[in-house]
Structure formats: C-alpha cells, structure tokens
Symmetry: C2
Amino acid sequence: MSPERAVDAVRDAFVAHARGEWTMPPKVYVPAYPAGDFRAMPASGGGYALLKWITSFPGNPARGLPTVSGVVLISDASNGELRAVLDAASVTALRTGAAAVLAAETLGRGDAGAAAVIGAGVNGRAVARTFVARGRDVLLWDVDPQRAQAAADDAGAAVAPTLDAALAADLIATVTPGHEILLGPGSLQPGQHVSLMGADGPDKAEIAVEELARVRVFCDEWEQASHAGDIAHAVEAGALGRSDVTTLGDVLVGAATGRQSAEDITVFDSTGLAIQDMAVALAALDALDRLDDVQLLDL
Amino acid sequence: MSPERAVDAVRDAFVAHARGEWTMPPKVYVPAYPAGDFRAMPASGGGYALLKWITSFPGNPARGLPTVSGVVLISDASNGELRAVLDAASVTALRTGAAAVLAAETLGRGDAGAAAVIGAGVNGRAVARTFVARGRDVLLWDVDPQRAQAAADDAGAAVAPTLDAALAADLIATVTPGHEILLGPGSLQPGQHVSLMGADGPDKAEIAVEELARVRVFCDEWEQASHAGDIAHAVEAGALGRSDVTTLGDVLVGAATGRQSAEDITVFDSTGLAIQDMAVALAALDALDRLDDVQLLDL
C-alpha cells in the first residue's frame, strides 16, 4: 500500500471516529515486565471489527529482534468471519506515518516548507517516506548517524547536519523512544508544527511540560493521550486540561478550529489509535480485492 | 490433542491461576449487535502471553456459518514473538469439554455413575467426548433428535430417551444457548453435580435462581461469573454473595472445600477463562515440538 493511500484512509478514520461512526473499546495491556508488554487494541466500524495484538519490547533490537511485532486481525462484523491476518508492524508503520503527516498538513502553516523527522527507527522511516510521498523535502536525524543515513537513503530524505538544524524545520515529527526530552522550554519558534509520535507510556516524553503549556495542543484521542501520551505529564501537573486540548478529528470535521494564525505553534500528541489500524487494514483488504492475480494458500 | 491431555492442561491452569501465577486482564467485548459480538480475551503466565479473538453470532448456523469462530494467538513473553495462531473454535471446544469434566470429577460424588450432556452443539459434543475419553458412560440430549444422534455416534455416547432421563444422571453438563431454564426450582436431587457451561451473558440462564440458592455453588472466576454467568442473576437478586461461591481453582489447590457429603448438590458455573485457552494452546505448542515430521510453510 502506498503512503498516500494510508494518509487518505487514516483521514477518513479520524473523521468517522469524530462523528461517532467508528468506535474503540479501551486497549488492554498484558504486562511482561521488565522485558516488555503486549497490547490488545480493538476497534469497530464500517462493517468490520479489528483487533491488533502488538508488542513493545525495548530491549529486543540488542538481540536482533524487532521492538514491535504482532498481528492485526480484521473480521466481518455481520457474521464474525475473520477476513485477514496482517503484519502488525507494517500496519503500525503505515498508520503512524500517515497520522504524523496528516496532523502536520492539517495543523501546520499552509506555506510550510521542509519537514524534519527525528528518529530513524521503523516508524520514523515510515513518517519520512510519507512526507516524501506527499512531495515534501525531508531532513532526517537520529542519534545513530549510520542509521540516519540508511533511513534517509531508503526514504528519499536528506540527513540533517545537526539536531538543531532538524528542529528548525517548519514541520517536525518526533519518533523517538521518548527517553529524552527533545523540545525544552522555549525551544519552538512561532509558526512551527510538531507531531509527537514517540512517547506512548507513563515514563516517556519528547516535550517539556512548560513548552506544552505555551503552545496550541492537539491530540488523537483525549482519554488515551491524557493517560499515556506526552500531554499526560502536563495534565498531571495541572498545566493542561480537557478544554485546552483539541482532537485532530474535531478539526477535520470542522467541529473545532485548528491553526488560527501563522504565528501559532501547533503540537499534535499521537498515542496511536486502533481506528488508524483499521483504516489501513480496510485499505489493504480493498487493495487485495482489486488484485487480478492473488494466489490463496489452500491449507 | 486428546481430551485427556486437555483435562490435565486445564487442571494445571486452574491451579496456576489460583496460585496467582497465571493472570487474566478482563476480557473486552466489541459489540456488533444485533448480529453478534467479538471478544478479546487476554492471559499471561508460564512465559507466554495469549489473546483469543472469538465471536458469538447466534444467527450464523441458519446461514451455514459457525456461531463461534476466531483465532488464538500465543506469544513468547520474553521477547514478544508470536509462536502460533490456532483455530479458536477448536481450542474453545477442547477447553470447555475439559472444564466441564474436570469440575464434574472434582465436585461430583466419588462413586458417580453416568454423565449426561444436554446440548449437542460443538461444545456439547466436546464435553461428551471428554467424558467418554475419561471412561464414563454418557447420555446425550438435544432439542434436535437428529443432532443428538449424530453427536452421540461421534462421541461414543448414547442418546437419552428423554430430557428427564438425562437430568437424572449423577453428573450433568448443560451446554445450551441459555435461552431456557433447564433446571427449575427443586429439580436437582441429593448427590447430583451439574456443570453449567452454556449461559455466558446477561440474558442467559440454564438454572433457576431459587435452585442456585439451595445448592453448593462453585464457579471458574468470581468477577466474570458474577457478571455474566448463571450466578449473575442470583447475585443480582441478592440470593448469592461472594462468600457463598467457591472457585474451582481454590478447591484444586486445597484452599477451599469441594463436596462435603454424598448428599450435597454441587453446581459449577463456567463462563470460560482465557487461562483455559492458554492451557490448551501451550499443550498444542508442546505437542508440535514433539512431532517428528512437521512441515512448516515458507511464506
């Protein structure tokens, strides 16, 4: 599936969710600490039900294994029939890239220039590929210069000479493990947009609470983001409340305002929603239906 | 996998759960009403994490489709790696048969004779097969005599001449959709045991509240059974409380008493636990490891 198709599908998913047509029961964590955890993420809508079973094992790369792995199950909601089992890492990368770019295009300045992607892991590469597919110049930065170069070559991006050079871009996507704050107090400039894609747990953050408190804040879903996203720290500190944060879906359906001026600093806190996975899974089913020459295994 | 192996595995699972070694986050329902629903059932323990994605679409058989379908995912809890994807209906049938028989053998009289199985659907047949595999004579009854005969032939059981004849057995397992109460007030006789396997939702029941109130009541797991099992109606009516109900696992580990006399009437309310599925899934992995001649598909 092309990154452009994923952006369209994920936009439709945010719209359907904002309208209450697609729904998500809360995700369930199955702990396997200290090594990692499993997440069961359900969603339903559009005549389908979805379950993503996906891991986060941060120590895996040191053993030659992926941090994130699992499967996406997509079933027909009219009779329960399982329609497909998809590789969860691929679906996650496509929808994460799509959400980062969709937020940047929706909330960034109309005349925004280059995009910068911080973090060249699986999902960072997907964000870079998606920006490139949408016709944007991309600077890529990673703590590991070799990984940055390989990812830039793969995505058709350029390696940023320094982290500061990357952080000066009009559009920024941070796709790091969230162990270090990249955006300290006062670091963002008027007119910039940041899609925060990395931090998705209680001990993770890519932006300082003080910086969140002085910018315009958007998120994918309030419950999830206020508990596990970058904004959770600001909510806990009393620096942000529900009324300070707008969901991307509400902006897309016109129920809320996005950027209000060229001087606004906009920040999108992404925690990753099962409806995004469903968007990509349904687009994959659709693509499969269009293929002329599919060989189905007869097991 | 043999039914005997499933009984051993499920017994070990109830023991591990009672000891706190195996755990289950609550199951999540994804509604697709009025047609049916999906359930995501997680569990962890023994170095593995499990997710069962399973349906209940009661109108499916009329369309030639199974009521229950889905997959069981079993992953290595040390690194998140998916180890197997199993057919959920097969796993469910094996573990349901095992739980019904395990409860009957644990809670029934030591000198109990024949067993009767009411309901000859997929899981009813599995219960009958499991009783037969454990060396017991089995009477089978179903509203559909043809289905009863086919299931009896398949399981090595006999068709009960009447429902009353079946309900006179020392050991009874009810495996019906739960739309009708089979066991009315005063229907059970001293010394009988019933494993209630069918009712697993708010509008379902196989036994009257008055009958539950006068017998010794056991369940698989209090939270789940008191919300969705047969005992939920008695709990709601104030006829049963937490202290009136003993878990099978506590009996198996010796933390609680099972049957106390030959005159006791014992009733086991089964709602179906993800730890039972994990027991069967791990036994299947173990059986796979022992096979000499496994052909793995190279996809």
